[in-house]
Amino acid sequence: MRISVSHISKSYKQVKALHDISFEVKPNEIFGLIGPDGAGKTTLFRILTTLLFPDKGNATVADFDVITEYKQIRNSVGYMPGKFSLYQDLTVEENLTFFATIFGTTIEENYDLIKDIYIQIAPFKDRRAGKLSGGMKQKLALCCALIHKPKVLFLDEPTTGVDPVSRKEFWEMLKRLQQKNITILVSTPYMDEASLCDRIALIQDGKILEIDTPEAIVNQYPKQIYNIRANKMYQLIQYVKAYEFNHSVYPFGTYVHYTDRRPDFNPEDLKRYLASKNIFDVEIKKTEATIEDTFMELARK
């Protein structure tokens, strides 16, 4: 089932949370909204799950209109908000039963869909939700969002604050759900998760910077990036930033990602410049752009 968003805008008083947002999520796609806090991701989720009216524009989810057909949408989608929203003083099993009942179904009826995930938290089914670890809360929330067999799944920052192991497991679960014909819209501030989506929208300050497949987004990076490395990292960054031909200078782990303004950049020139500043042990190598490089390049404009 598709999601279609057309020219949506939303403001809170003076703050423009969303500015003329349009995109389309194809049936059975994992579509990622990639952007930092305050980009407008949650506002968009709330509009699409019919919890908030847009100021302008329209949107459909599973071919239902978010304003006039909100009841049908609520029956056909699963929503996992960024904030843990289950009942802390109900047990794991009670929460799941509660959500199943609300949607007029039972755990047994759709057990197939949640089995892989529920099995991991089943040993704790009598524990109150409030007493679960972060990773387990997240799995329970996903089960509750799935128990009525939704056609479209909305996941608002499901992996924020979650360690890399649980994040990896979570994405493996999403891939399995995709095979069961569920369309997934997922948001994340972790740029490295972008490559796990079929297509992504980069979003910042309420505006979409770019929409495409992760590969295409990386390929459109306009410049050659160089990895630069030296022992004195802080001094290296300061001097490279002061270099008159620099286009961008960003620390990237043990390297600095550097782009030059000149089309015929010769790394030896930069090495000589750095040597004149007493930085000698310099290594400069070509490297490939990442989603994060592209995001930063687009966000600068």
């Binding site: 604050g161 360690d163 501030p189 802080y234 966000a299």
Partner: protein, 242 residues
């Protein structure tokens, strides 16, 4: 104790009833070092950090932070460290200036020094236009940079940063790391936890906790060699998944 080590820990253990949350940690962190403290959710990072900042007494072991004993000199530790929580901890309904004055006062700085530091800090962060604005209305990236600067107001020997860059946009995240480099370059020790594995690679050394124990500790480069991987993320996955 060795005066060059700002953190010196030996056999540090914390039990809650029968449960060993932190199991015999032994490590040192040097002056001006950027030390990454990683681990899965529930591995014991927060418990370990609470002992190091003097708000939780260890069950056994030894630990010195900034030269003070965590068992007997917890109050001295609190005065000599900076701490930045993952939850924004400045006062939303105080202005930028008021927050700086407030925290400066808490750390016992004189009015004169607070005034000087406040001016420098506001200029360095480019906050001149919002100096009299409530902090609550600032974008998250600005708030995080301000929190970090405030945690350094009293020139602590070491600063503890608990997931300082969660949810921050990539450009601001890098500005934040440049601030960390700068502090370290000036001799401040930085102890940092993060869930962004690419950020672990900014650190001089990284430790990875699994089930209460430090299972790996070295420079990012050596850890990657040791585990034959290209990224710290893969090191982490190998260790924590077993």
């Amino acid at each position: 104790m060795n005066t060059k080590n700002v953190i010196q820990v030996e056999g540090l253990t914390k039990m809650f009833g029968d449960f060993t949350a932190v199991n015999s940690l032994t490590f040192n962190v040097g002056k001006g070092e950027i030390f990454g403290f990683l681990g899965a959710n529930g591995a014991g990072k927060t418990t370990a950090m609470k002992m190091l900042i003097g708000i939780s007494t260890p069950t056994s072991g030894k630990a010195y932070v900034a030269g003070f004993n965590v068992f007997t000199q917890a109050e001295d530790i609190k005065k000599n460290i900076g701490y930045m929580s993952q939850k924004f901890a400045l006062y939303d309904d105080l202005t930028v200036k008021e927050n700086i004055t407030f925290f400066g006062g808490i750390y016992g700085l004189s009015r004169k020094i607070i005034k000087e530091k406040s001016a420098v800090l506001i200029t360095e962060l480019g906050l001149e236009k919002v100096a009299n604005t409530f902090v609550g209305s600032l974008p998250i990236g600005w708030k995080q940079k301000l929190s970090f600067s405030v945690s350094l107001l009293h020139d602590p020997t070491i600063v503890f940063l608990d997931e300082p860059t969660g949810g921050v946009d990539p450009i601001t995240r890098r500005q934040f790391w440049e601030m960390i480099y700068k502090a370290a370059n000036q001799g401040t020790t930085v102890f940092v936890t993060t869930h962004y594995m690419d950020e672990a690679e900014y650190c001089d050394r990284v430790s990875i906790m699994v089930n209460g124990k430090i299972e790996a500790l070295d420079t990012p480069k050596k850890l990657k060699e040791q585990f034959s991987t290209n990224t710290i993320n893969d090191v982490f996955l190998k260790l924590a998944r077993g």
